[in-house]
Amino acid sequence: MPSSSYYTDLIHRVYVEEGVADSPYLQRAVGQLPEVPVYTVKDKQEIPQKDLNRHTLFVGSPRGQTVTRCPGSKGHLCCNYITVDLYLGCTLGCGYCIMESYLNFSPLTVYLKPEGSIARLQELARENPDITIRAGTGEVGDSLLLDPLFGLSEPFITGLSQYPNVYFELKTKTHFVDHLLDIEEKGNAVIGFSLNPQHHVETFEPRAGSLDERLEAARKVLSSGYNLAFHFDPVFLSDNWNEEYLRVVAALSEFPADRIAWISLGTMRYTPALKETLGEQPFLYEEFVPCRDGKFRYPQKIRSDIYRTLYGELSKRFAVPIYMCMESTAVWQNVFGQVPGKIDRLRAIFKQVRSV
């Protein structure tokens, strides 16, 4: 559990939309931020210009669809993950994050009233009894960065625990899991940890949890009954990438395969807009080439080599679904010899959920 000074360093003010001022989740959060001023506004537009930054937290009710299909990437295979908008934005400030290109001047946003999203996921679960539904809140923000304050993951976990075809994932680079340990009805809930060698954590993820802290958090959630997921994403090329990443893979050996829901792999990629925002990051001096979706990636041959190495090592240790995020058919063929729909272990999780 992060200390309250951790959050007061992070959050300098809270703007609350009128409609959610009575929310128990809000009360829980502001109770832990006694010195942070809280203002009530009609909507987000009322936040003064000077406060439109990442030290401002906006708490409101969701607008429009909060449960959507991952938009994927043109010309690349998508794993058909369902994304849930709950925590938008992130202050971990990772040196490669896509959110850096569009969230710099946006407040962190928390959508209260999770009931609508939970009901929608339950509905999808009922409508797709034959499909494994993978859904999570970690697409546009870190699932657990603010969760110790608001506790919004709990109703999702319990509300979906009765649905055997739903794997609800909380994806994080933090180690903030203590508040989740005593939840009784966990169902298939998955706590996913994004992993990188400690050297990269220090360079590119300085405000995130250390590798050891994340692994310790994984041990905790495992022993309290959660499933685990691991995300090697983004993988960085360096002179000794092989050695560095294989050491992280080796560190996962202690985790039982039957409790690992999936492992994903993705090499560093960026949009031209993100490159402008990132400035002079050392990893940008590697070779990147434009791909069909307009993003820049390491050349296909290099990516394939990285994935083959990691997949080779991981699959030796874990007979679990291991997949690549946003990769081309060519790379899938190079690494797996097949596209995911034809790989037994992946077919189920890559099957598209109907009526999202």
Partner: protein
């Protein structure tokens, strides 16, 4: 109270000349100055706000006095605003002049491009008079210019390199810039050259000597941009060279074109040929058959 006064040149000379900041001289017609037909020289808080060219012209004509307009005390950004209005050439100020404006507002030279808030807002306000459009980032840009090494400042001021590139590549040794200027590369190619050389320097941690040598070698090449590009993208270059060697080995002179996917991203190569008889068709197919023994080497490029 604003008041017109006729002051001697000696009195004007005794004023502060810190707003003598415009390097693009607009000499007034000397005959008009001699007849007193000139804009009165504004004076504020002991500073001659504008009219330095009129003053110089008067001095060279041997005049003894000039009409002035004495203005009560006002903030420095208002003095600058008046000077800019009278100068009346928005959109046509050079970078050294803009740096002078910044220094007039904030005499402390900017360190590492960081600027006090006290100059950011006034310069944003004044930007329509300077740039002919509002630019909230103007102070930051001027600060960036001011922090450049002298060689690069000159190149930016002369319009040889854009400010953004200059700021990015300023750690490159000055020798590179001298070589580049005599290379005959166009403006946009200079930018590309510098950016890629800079990235090479960061990736390979080259010494100044090595960088100058690399730049020299590239600029002597028939195709300098391609040469520096090969240094910046060695893996891709190696793949292109392997492919070209294979293609030349197997298909040169056959009239069959073999193409890899762009940037070797993809699963398939394509072939293209034309034929106008059964005989040429068979000849092309024979050429293609020659690929069979080398297909592994070819597909290795995509795997």
């Amino acid at each position: 109270m604003v008041g017109f006064q006729v002051l001697t040149l000696a009195e004007i000379d005794a004023l502060s000349g810190e707003l003598d900041i415009f390097t693009q001289k607009q000499a007034p017609l000397p005959g008009l100055v001699a007849k007193g037909l000139h804009t009165p020289l504004p004076i504020c808080s002991g500073v001659l706000v504008w009219g330095y060219e009129i003053l110089r012209s008067a001095r060279s004509r041997g005049l003894r006095q000039l009409s002035c307009l004495v203005i009560p005390s006002c903030p420095r950004h208002e003095m600058l605003s008046l000077a800019l209005k009278l100068e009346n050439r928005a959109g046509n100020f050079g970078w050294p002049e803009k740096e002078n404006m910044l220094r007039f507002l904030d005499s402390v030279p900017p360190a590492g491009g960081s600027l006090p808030a006290a100059v950011i807002d006034p310069l944003a306000e004044l930007s329509p008079l300077i740039e002919d459009h509002r630019d909230p980032q103007l102070a930051v840009k001027i600060g960036t210019f001011a922090a450049l090494p002298e060689t690069l400042k000159n190149l930016v001021a002369e319009g040889q390199i854009d400010l953004k590139t200059a700021a990015r590549v300023q750690s490159l040794p000055a020798g590179v810039f001298h070589q580049l200027l005599s290379s005959g590369l166009t403006y946009s190619r200079r930018r590309q050259f510098l950016n890629e050389l800079f990235e090479v320097s960061r990736k390979q941690n080259l010494s100044d000597r090595e960088l100058i040598a690399e730049a020299e070698a590239a600029l002597k090449d028939e195709r300098p941009i391609e040469k520096i590009h090969r240094l910046r993208f060695p893996t891709l270059t190696a793949m292109e060279q392997s492919f070209a060697a294979l293609e030349q080995d197997l298909l040169q002179g056959s009239g069959v074109q073999l193409k890899p996917p762009p940037y070797f991203e993809g699963e398939a190569f394509s072939v293209k040929f034309e034929f106008n008889s059964a005989k040429t068709f068979i000849r092309k197919l024979d050429s293609l058959h020659s690929l069979e023994g080398r297909l592994d080497a070819l597909f290795e490029l995509l795997h």
